[in-house]
């Protein structure tokens, strides 16, 4: 228990005393367009914190998040109370929820629509979870603050263990390079259970800035209205959000309040970067192209807007306080900083493990660096692609296809396009694969290329030849 009092002394963390000191500034415009001052937010968080603290000093729970005031309050209260939440999207399929309940044996579940008591200050429902398998619940590592999934959609129960320090360090670093001040007003355009979405919340609260909590789609007629009415100063998006902005004529409209745009969540194509970089120059905005991973809480690098037009395609330079380099032996991009995760977890027992990475993250991406010190990702060691901002494991999809369709399958591709090869002669195979990927992973077939071939290429060793398949992408 001593570590709890220690953590609560960490008054500079954005979820602690910092909220208190900002008093009459506006923290949030909530989903009902009500103004919430920092003092109001702090009082709500404190109320929820008291409730959680009475349940136990340090517990693990599943917190289902959306961009709403009740969810933000519950999230901050968990951090303040020393409870460790797994942040999850409200839309998570129930079989995945069951798997998380089984693997992590949480003490509670907090979400909007369920049985249970009202979490004071928040309004979400708190439900104690009865542990179903009688493993001894090991003590949580003292530095563990938050658990995030590496993927928004797929079924892996693997979680990233982030420390309190990592959250605070990344929020401060982002505050610094985005030059966030109290006059900023960010529109929350991404799910808060997604590391990029969460980092916008964390950094803006850290800066004493304001968040406009609206789940408004770029494709909604309300999108432009919210920006104008709420005088939003910054937007953030993964590549496909920028495609939508482009296609819906964002560039032709006038938004006097906007000052900056940020992009992360996968590689955006150079043409689109150029379009928005030019637009930013015309409008006097700053456009930040950024790179990160959930494993780094998540921000790793950014391109300073003034250099963007000569560094299109680069992931930029390390964020303040961090260090980037390319391992000369295998060309892997390595990042060092206080925001690096403690390690992964796959079960409740793993939550007692302490820091395994010691601030050094091997990103799994291959990279080179140019004469000005700008980094470029050239390939990927790990087998995954990012689709609509979400990481999707290629091996996992491959196994799923094989087990359901009963044919050999190989899955490859690049960001925003997954390529699937199925061995067979059956025309229905492609349709069946399409349907399976839509149902299981929520992948739209416009992001897929499916090829049915007579024989999958194999290496002499008998292993699948992904290099040969790559030529066919």
């Amino acid at each position: 228990m001593s570590e709890i009092s220690l953590d609560r002394q960490q008054s500079l963390y954005f979820w602690n005393d910092r909220l208190r000191t900002l008093g009459s500034s506006i923290a949030l415009i909530d989903e009902n367009e009500a103004i919430v001052l920092y003092a109001d937010l702090d009082a709500r968080v404190e109320e929820a914190t008291q409730f959680l603290s009475r349940k136990g000093p340090r517990q693990v729970g599943l917190l289902f998040m959306g961009n709403t005031l009740p969810c933000i309050v519950a999230y901050l209260a968990c951090l303040r109370a020393g409870h460790v939440p797994v942040l999850l999207p409200d839309t998570l399929p129930s079989d995945l929820v069951s798997q998380l309940l089984y693997n992590y044996q949480p003490d509670w579940v907090i979400r909007a629509d369920q049985q249970g008591v009202v979490l004071p200050g928040s309004g979400l429902r708190y439900l104690e979870h009865i542990q179903t398998n009688c493993v001894s619940l090991a003590q949580l590592a003292p530095e563990l603050g938050l658990l995030l999934s590496t993927s928004g959609t797929t079924g892996s129960p693997k979680l990233v263990r982030l420390s309190y320090q990592a959250l605070q360090a990344n929020a401060e670093s982002i505050t610094e390079y985005l030059c966030l001040s109290q006059s900023e007003r960010a529109l929350t355009m991404l799910p808060p259970s997604y590391s990029y979405g969460l980092s916008i919340i964390n950094s803006h609260l850290n800066a004493g800035a304001c968040l406009v909590l609206r789940n408004v789609s770029v494709l909604s007629p309300d999108f432009a209205k919210v920006i104008l009415d709420q005088e939003v100063t910054s937007l953030s998006g993964v590549p496909y959000i920028y495609q939508m902005l482009h296609r819906t004529g964002f560039q032709k409209q006038s938004f006097p309040s906007i000052r900056s745009l940020t992009q992360a969540g996968g590689r955006m194509d150079d043409r689109l970067i150029n379009v928005f970089a030019q637009l930013a120059v015309e409008k006097g905005w700053k456009f930040y192209v950024m790179y990160g991973q959930t494993e780094a809480a998540p921000r790793i690098s950014f391109v300073p807007p003034a250099r963007l037009l000569d560094k299109v395609g680069s992931i930029g330079i390390a964020i303040p306080g961090g260090k980037l380099y390319v391992d000369p032996l295998d060309e892997e991009l390595v990042y060092e900083g206080l925001n690096v995760m403690l390690g992964y977890a796959e079960s409740r027992a793993d939550l007692s493990r302490t820091d395994e990475l010691k601030g050094v993250l091997r990103t799994g991406d291959l990279a080179r660096v140019d004469a000005d010190g700008y980094f470029y990702v050239t390939g990927r060691k790990k087998r995954f692609v990012k689709l609509a901002g979400n990481r999707v494991g290629l091996d996992e999809v491959e196994r799923k296809l094989q087990s359901v369709l009963h044919v050999p399958a190989s899955v490859g591709g690049r960001d925003e396009r997954m390529v699937i090869w199925l061995e067979g002669a059956n025309d229905h195979l492609a349709e069946a694969a399409k349907l399976l990927l839509a149902e299981q992973y929520g992948l739209h077939h416009s992001m897929l290329r499916i090829r049915v071939v007579e024989e999958l290429p194999v290496l002499q060793s008998g292993k699948k030849d992904y290099v040969a398949l790559k030529k066919d992408e």
């Binding site: 789609s217 494709l219 495609q243 939508m244 296609r247 004529g249 416009s446 992001m447």
Partner: protein, 74 residues
């Protein structure tokens, strides 16, 4: 035109042609999300060899609205 548009909807949203009715609305079924919407727009443009204006991309919020919009371009 309506039949051709129905086929495009059915293929882009991965739903049965018989489910493509006038009342079918954007974001009211999981299959018609923002990613599917962009694929739908691209398929309509290709299928009818037209270029939709930005406003129409946003306004195309139901099948009946889509019929109305596409007919303007033909």
């Amino acid at each position: 035109m309506e039949d051709k548009l129905r086929v495009i909807f059915s293929e882009s949203l991965n739903i049965k042609p018989s489910d493509v009715v006038d009342e079918l609305r954007y974001s009211e079924i999981p299959q018609w999300d923002s990613v599917a919407h962009m694929a739908l727009i691209a398929a309509i443009e290709e299928g009818f060899d037209i270029m939709l204006d930005a406003e129409d991309v946003i306004d195309m919020s139901s099948f009946s609205k889509a019929k109305e919009i596409v007919s303007k371009y033909l």
